[in-house]
Structures are given as structure tokens and as C-alpha cells.
């Protein structure tokens, strides 16, 4: 899978510079996984990403103008995955178990030397079983969440379409446009039989300037997204009794009605600038930096469809810098990458009735990652790494005062191996371990997370067929109950 790497005469000197940077940076930055429910994402599962290689320009920056620089050959793949998650340990509004099924078809065509086109169609189905009262797909992602009084099963499903077109406007200028459209419908199987419809559309346009050899790239993109989420809880003999939460502790019992509705109107804006420099001091040493500024606003209305009432307005601003320094010397069978993510998050929410601040959150996340790649005679490849993240911040609810001082440290380590059994058969193995200090609503001090991946891919006369099995377990520090997830993924790529 990995191409032969050529020897570089400057590699030794560059390695010294590289380790000096790592040593300095390690003193400053910490990083890791942000949320307790995350686990290491094994690179075998990312079909856009080549094993053992650093993220290409597009995957790093998400600038559509850089797509043709990142993918030079046509490809298409189908992917099906199924995951079953058992939440023995769960929060108050989490489901007992979840089953997720995803289908994805993606195709990429290089139209000519100046233009390329990519498209994907996805279909997702998420079953949430034994979900206690939450009418939201994820209660904890919302400051104005909607609940009812029953425990039931909710099924969410819907298609997602994605298109990308990019074109070179000159020798040194590229333009790209990317659009994403998703519809999801959810239905709860017991009273209040809440029906959820989410429409999520976004448009991203980007520009990129690059040198003729593509070793220096400067890019910019802007994105606008619009999400409309509608919830309708209906009566069944008894009126629909629902609550609207303001944060995680205070709620309002809405007037019982034959139909109680909630609508979230969300606008997202984001802009990003990227800088990429290849062969910075020596061949193989690449620097990637991306600046991101994004914001989203949501207006929440609850009530009947004819006379909805304003329940609140909230804003999330996220600013960040993502940088990565990679050293994959030509002619060598190893590579290193140091990455850092700085994210500054600011949330605030206003009451729907008065111009008053009811929720506020500020958080700073510093995530530092280090990975190492080594290949032996192209028969065995290994990638390993560590990451650490320090999150500090403050969350406050003001209706009934509640304050949470956030100071969390997460770390993780992983190892991934790929063995070439013969020219057409590869075996893959991955393992990861992490310790995470979760957010206060998990009601535990620490999670230990272990994950395993086992898979293979085989080249056939039609393309490559791959199968993978994944297992992950989250164990809280206190208590016997845990969270387990098992998954199967199958892909076909050509």
C-alpha cells in the first residue's frame, strides 16, 4: 500500500531540527480526545486516507479548492457499517442501547487537467432504544432540549448528499465549491410519538493560491450552513406534556396541548485560512497550519404551530488553530508527525422572554499529538502515537445559579499495524487506550477507554474488498457498569 520512499541527503539534519521542535512544543502543548464518548479513530476506517500518511491538504484544511491537489486519481468506494452500543453506564437522558447503520457511496472523477468533481450519497439509520424522556437525538448537545415523560425507542433515518467541484483558474489559483444536504426523520414509538425532522444544508466555497510545484499553498474558504429542526409531540388520550430545558438543570413545563411543537432555527458561519509549506527546510518536512473562525446561532421556539413562543437564543463561537509538522523523508521507511490544535469555545444563551443571559460557557482546549510511522520491507507497516489534551474553562447557568469549573486532562495512545500477507491480501490490526476526564454531566471522574480493530482487505479483479471488526469499551473509574460498542464495516473500493 505504501509507495517506496527515496533517500534524502538532508534527512539527518532535518531530523535534528524536527526533534528540537518536538521537545520545545511538548513543554507547551497538551492534547487528546475532547469527549468521553470519543475513541481513537482507526485510520483503516477512513477510506479517503492512506495508511501511514499524514492528512493531505484537503483532509487537513477542508478547503474544496485543494481537492484536486489532494486526490490525483479517480476513485470510488462503497462502504457499509453497523455498530451496536450498549450503554450500561449512561446519563439520565441517554438511551440504553444504540444501533447505527451507515451506507456510503463516494465517487471522484478528474474531469480534465483543470477540473475535478466528487459526489457522495449516504444513508444513515440510528436506533436509540430505551431512551429516557429525551426527544433530542442527543440531549446533551442542546442548551434548549425538549423532553417528555416516557421511555421509548426512537428511530432516526435519512439520506445525505454531498457534492464537490473544483477548478484551476490559472497556474497558481484554484477555486472549489462544496455542498452538503442532509435530511433526517426521527420517530418515537410510544407516547408522545414525537416526530423529528431535521434539514441541514451547507455551502462552502474556497480559493487557493499555490506555487507551480504545489509546495507552497495558501487557501481561504467560507461556509454557510442552515439547519432547521422540528419536533412535534402529540397527545395520546392525554395531552402532550413536554418540558423545555434551559441548560441541564432548569426546565419549564410547557402547556399541555394536543400537539406541542419545538423548532430550532440555526445558522452557521465559518471561515478558514490555511497555509501549507512542503519541504520546509529539507525534503520531506511539511508544515500545515489552518486557522478557523466559526459561529452558530440558534433560535428556539416552542408551543403550538400557530402561536409559537420564543424560548431562547444561543450562540456558539469557535476559533482555533490547527497545525501539523510532518517529516516523511524521501527514501526512508519512517515518518513522524507532530500536531497541535488550539480551540477557543464561547457559548452563551439568552432567555426567550427577557434580554438576559441565562447560560455561559468558555473553554480552551489544547490538544497535542505525536505519531510515528515505520515500514519494514513493505511487508509490515506500523503507526503509533500519543495524544494529550488539556481543557480549561467555565460553565455557568444563571437561572438557578450553577457553576462548573472545567479543568480536564485527557490522554491516549494507539498502535496500528498492517501486514502484507501476499500481494493481494493485507491484514490490519489496531489497538488504542485512553484515559479521559469527562464533562460534569457524566457524573464520574474518569473514563478508561480501550479499543481494538481487526480487519483485512483483498485485491480482486474488480477492486479492493475490505472487512473490519471494531470493539470499544469505556469503563468509569467508579462502578461496575460500562459502555461497550461493537462494529462491523465492509467496503469495496476501486
Amino acid at each position: 500500500m505504501n509507495k517506496a520512499i527515496q533517500q534524502s541527503p538532508k534527512a539527518g539534519k532535518a531530523m535534528q531540527q524536527f526533534f528540537a521542535i518536538i521537545a520545545c512544543s511538548s513543554l507547551i502543548f497538551l492534547g487528546g480526545k475532547s469527549w468521553a464518548q470519543e475513541t481513537h479513530s482507526f485510520s483503516f476506517l477512513n477510506l479517503d486516507q492512506e495508511f501511514g500518511k499524514p492528512a493531505n491538504s484537503y483532509l487537513f484544511s477542508l478547503n474544496p479548492a485543494l481537492y484536486h491537489l489532494s486526490f490525483t486519481e479517480n476513485f470510488s468506494y462503497y462502504s457499509i457499517s453497523a455498530n451496536d452500543k450498549l450503554n450500561e453506564f449512561r446519563r439520565e437522558y441517554d438511551p440504553k442501547s444504540e444501533q447505527n447503520y451507515d451506507f456510503l457511496f463516494k465517487n471522484y472523477y478528474v474531469l480534465n487537467s483543470k477540473a475535478s468533481f466528487a459526489a457522495s450519497v449516504a444513508y444513515q439509520r440510528d436506533n436509540k432504544t430505551g431512551m429516557a424522556r429525551s426527544l433530542e437525538k442527543d440531549f446533551y448537545e442542546h442548551y434548549f432540549a425538549f423532553t417528555d415523560t416516557t421511555r421509548g425507542d426512537t428511530k432516526y433515518e435519512g439520506p445525505q448528499l454531498w457534492f464537490l467541484y473544483d477548478r484551476q483558474l490559472g497556474k497558481h489559483l484554484g477555486f472549489g465549491i462544496e455542498t452538503d444536504y442532509k435530511i433526517e426523520r426521527g420517530l418515537k414509538d410510544v407516547y408522545t410519538r414525537c416526530e423529528t425532522i431535521v434539514r441541514d444544508a451547507s455551502l462552502r466555497t474556497g480559493l487557493a493560491c499555490y506555487t507551480k510545484d504545489h509546495k507552497t499553498v495558501v487557501g481561504l474558504y467560507g461556509e454557510y450552513g442552515s439547519v432547521q429542526s422540528k419536533y412535534e409531540a402529540v397527545k395520546e388520550l392525554q395531552d402532550a406534556i413536554v418540558k423545555t430545558f434551559f441548560g441541564y438543570h432548569v426546565f419549564r413545563t410547557e402547556n399541555p396541548r394536543s400537539s406541542n411543537n419545538k423548532t430550532d432555527y440555526t445558522n452557521r458561519y465559518s471561515a478558514s485560512a490555511q497555509l501549507e509549506k512542503k519541504d520546509l527546510f529539507t525534503p520531506g518536512l511539511d508544515l500545515q497550519i489552518a486557522f478557523l473562525a466559526s459561529g452558530r446561532e440558534s433560535t428556539v421556539e416552542v408551543g403550538s404551530t400557530t402561536t409559537p413562543q420564543d424560548r431562547g437564543y444561543w450562540v456558539r463561537n469557535t476559533n482555533g488553530i490547527h497545525s501539523a509538522l510532518s517529516f516523511y523523508p524521501q527514501g526512508k521507511s519512517y515518518g513522524l508527525q507532530l500536531s497541535h490544535k488550539l480551540a477557543l469555545l464561547e457559548d452563551w444563551a439568552r432567555s426567550g422572554s427577557y434580554d438576559i443571559l441565562i447560560i455561559e460557557r468558555d473553554a480552551t482546549s489544547n490538544n497535542f499529538g505525536l505519531s510515528f510511522f515505520k515500514s519494514w520491507s513493505q511487508k509490515l507497516s506500523l503507526q503509533t502515537g500519543v495524544s494529550m489534551e488539556q481543557i480549561t474553562g467555565n460553565y455557568a447557568e444563571y437561572v438557578i445559579p450553577f457553576e462548573y469549573e472545567e479543568d480536564r486532562l485527557n490522554w491516549g495512545a494507539f498502535v496500528e499495524m498492517e501486514a502484507r500477507i501476499n500481494p493481494i491480501l493485507n491484514l490490519q490490526f489496531g489497538a488504542s487506550f485512553a484515559q479521559q476526564n469527562p464533562y460534569f454531566y457524566w457524573n464520574t471522574e474518569q473514563f478508561s477507554n480501550a479499543a481494538l480493530y481487526l480487519g483485512f482487505d483483498r485485491l480482486t479483479e474488480w477492486g479492493t474488498l475490505g472487512v473490519g471488526l471494531q470493539y470499544a469499551c469505556w469503563s468509569p473509574k467508579d462502578g461496575d457498569q460500562n459502555i461497550q460498542q461493537a462494529g462491523l464495516s465492509i467496503f469495496y473500493r476501486r
Binding site: 434551559f246 426546565f251 396541548r257 403550538s304 427577557y354
Partner: protein, 358 residues
């Protein structure tokens, strides 16, 4: 000459400025900063040491309670910004207006809805009235929501009347009506037995409760969580409704409306009920406003548009009441009446036929 680096930083600055200009401005005031200064008075005299309770439907939070100081003032600070209903319910000892050397003990009640102004402070006066003010026959409780069930059973509805005067009053020939929009529109009209105005056969003693049932039947035989109304004082009866239950031991209110084949059915969580003296029985042109003894409008919806004339009921009670929940609507104290059902009534979790809830 502007360098590429400068262009990059200027772009970033522009992005950050753009980000903040897209959204509404962040409020500067934090919640839980509201204060309420309330003065409690009875007949223009401050009342010290009286418990004052604030309750809100805006949030599912417990009520706030404090007592007035020697000047009759109570100050609540650190309240969430919300609309509150103030309730004062206390016993006060005051010099007797007849013999100032003696003291009278009075039950006083006061209620008012308060909401913050722009700066989050409230200064208001709660005027209390003594129990027995505006005395007379009152519709004291309306149980219309029905018991918990899954087959639309709501036939255990009843109305409770209360005599808040010091005199014995008589129900002879009085009428109870379910109203449409305004007094001109009568949906149902049922009449107590006896001669209107002059009859003396159906007395109501001072402080007595009267239960008027849809059907004087033991509804617990149908639904255990319902109520036994076999002891009701009256029941509605429509002889044109052949299936209408008639308890022979309970006197009937008979239907007066020609062509009505239904019993006295009304909205589970929204309607208008009046009690009138029976001097105007010509329902085709509505009910004479001067004959109305009491009127109650109720609705579970806070955004409900009022239906009856404000001179009869300035508000409506029952906001938040749920169908088939056993909820009932009762005055906050027996016969308490300010002609504003929003303030006079509260939702109780279970019906209390013939007695007042705690």
C-alpha cells in the same frame, strides 16, 4: 508593498470581525438578578409578619417564601427573571372597627401577578381582602379534566358551589350555563328546581359547599382513581338524553334549551361556566348580565384569547391543566373572588368535592 503574511493576518482579523457581526448582541445582565419589593396592605394598612409566597410557571422551580417586616414590606432578591404569582394568605389581628379596644381576627388573602421591568426590579403593593369580601354564591371548584383513563371517560365532572356570605342563600330556580363566546351565546342552560328569586326550598347555609354533578354516580366503579358522586347535592339531567343517568335520590337541574339532547358536557380544559339567578330564562338572546351571580372562564393555554366579558371575569384560570389527569380547578380559599379567575383559582392535583383543598 503589503506582504503575503500581512494579507493573511488582515484576512483573519476580518473573519473574526465578521463572526461577531453576524449574531445578536450578547446580553450584559445575568439572570437571577431580579428583585421584588412588595408591600402588603389590608384596607390601606400595612400588615407585618405575613407570609408572602412567589410562584412561577416559567420554570419548574420551587416557590419563594418570606415574611413582611414591621412596615409590611418584604424584599426578594436573586430571583430568576420570570413572571410570578404572588400569594398572601394569612390570619391577621386588627383593632375592631366597632370597639377599638377589642381585636378581630381575620383571614386575609391577596394575589397578584408581577413581572420584571427593564432593569429587573419590581416594586408593587399587594392589596389583600378579608375572607367573605364580595360575599355570595360562588362557583368554588370546577372538576372537568376527567380521571386518568384511556377510553375518554370524563363523566365524573362536577361543579362545587360555596356560600361565602353570612346569610343563607337559596338555589331555587337558578341556572347554570355553559357559554359560547360572550353572554349572547348560550350553549347549554340547566335550571335548579324551585321558583327563581322567591323560592325557599333549596337553602345553602353560610360556608356550605354544594356539589352539582354531571351524574350523581359512583364513578370509582368505572375508574378507581375517579370520585364517588353519589353524595352530590344536585345533578344535571336532560330528559331528551335517554341515556343520561338519573340518581333518584338527588334533585336535578333540568335542561331548558329546546333541541338539546346532551347532558351538561363542557370542555375538559377550556370553557366558560356561569351561575345566574334565573330571572332571565330567555336564552335565545343570551343571559342578562345583571342576573349573573358568578362566572368562571378557564383554559389550559396561556395564549388563550378571552371569550367572556371582562366585567364578569377579567382573566381565566387553569393554565397548564391537563386532560385526563384528575386535575381540578379550585379557588385558592373558599369563595375567594376578585373577579379574576387567573388569580382566584389554582390547579389542584385531585378533586375535592364538598370541601376545600389544603
Amino acid at each position: 508593498m503589503v506582504s503575503k503574511k500581512q494579507i493573511l493576518w488582515l484576512s483573519l482579523l476580518g473573519i473574526l470581525c465578521l463572526q461577531n457581526s453576524c449574531f445578536q448582541s450578547k446580553p450584559t445582565e445575568l439572570d437571577s438578578s431580579m428583585s421584588a419589593t412588595l408591600f402588603v396592605v389590608f384596607e390601606d394598612q400595612s400588615i407585618p409578619n405575613v407570609a408572602v409566597r412567589l410562584r412561577t410557571d416559567d420554570y419548574g422551580i420551587s416557590s419563594y417564601e418570606d415574611s413582611t417586616d414591621l412596615d409590611g414590606m418584604v424584599v426578594f432578591v436573586g430571583l430568576p427573571w420570570a413572571s410570578f404569582q404572588v400569594n398572601v394568605k394569612s390570619e391577621v389581628v386588627l383593632p375592631s372597627p366597632i370597639d377599638p379596644s377589642k381585636y378581630d381576627t381575620l383571614q386575609v388573602f391577596g394575589t397578584k401577578i408581577i413581572a420584571p421591568d427593564e432593569d429587573g426590579s419590581i416594586v408593587d403593593t399587594i392589596r389583600t381582602i378579608a375572607s367573605g369580601t364580595q360575599p355570595g354564591l360562588k362557583i368554588n371548584e370546577l372538576y372537568t379534566a376527567g380521571p386518568p383513563n384511556n377510553f375518554f371517560y370524563f363523566y365524573d365532572l362536577y361543579f362545587e358551589l360555596y356560600n361565602s356570605s353570612n346569610d343563607t342563600l337559596f338555589l331555587d330556580g337558578m341556572i347554570m350555563c355553559r357559554m359560547g363566546t360572550y353572554l349572547a351565546n348560550v350553549t347549554y342552560i340547566f335550571q335548579f328546581p324551585g321558583e327563581p328569586l322567591g323560592g325557599r326550598e333549596y337553602p345553602v347555609a353560610p360556608g356550605q359547599f354544594i356539589v352539582v354533578a354531571l351524574d350523581a354516580y359512583d364513578h370509582t366503579q368505572v375508574i378507581p382513581a375517579s370520585v364517588d358522586l353519589t353524595g352530590a347535592d344536585f345533578e344535571f339531567r336532560n330528559s331528551a338524553d335517554y341515556g343520561d343517568w338519573d340518581n333518584p335520590d338527588v334533585p336535578n337541574l333540568e335542561n331548558l334549551k329546546v333541541g338539546n339532547h346532551l347532558d351538561f358536557l363542557c370542555g375538559l380544559t377550556g370553557d366558560v361556566i356561569i351561575l345566574a339567578d334565573g330571572s332571565d330564562l330567555n336564552y335565545l338572546d343570551g343571559v342578562d348580565i345583571n342576573s349573573v351571580v358568578d362566572c368562571v372562564e378557564y383554559s389550559s393555554s396561556a395564549t388563550h384569547i378571552k371569550e367572556i366579558e371582562s366585567s364578569l371575569d377579567r382573566g381565566f384560570g387553569g393554565v397548564g391543566q391537563s386532560k385526563y389527569s384528575s386535575n381540578s380547578l379550585e379557588r385558592i380559599a373558599p369563595g375567594f373572588d376578585t373577579n379574576n379567575s387567573t388569580l382566584d383559582f389554582e390547579i389542584i392535583s385531585y378533586p375535592t368535592p364538598g370541601y376545600q383543598h389544603e
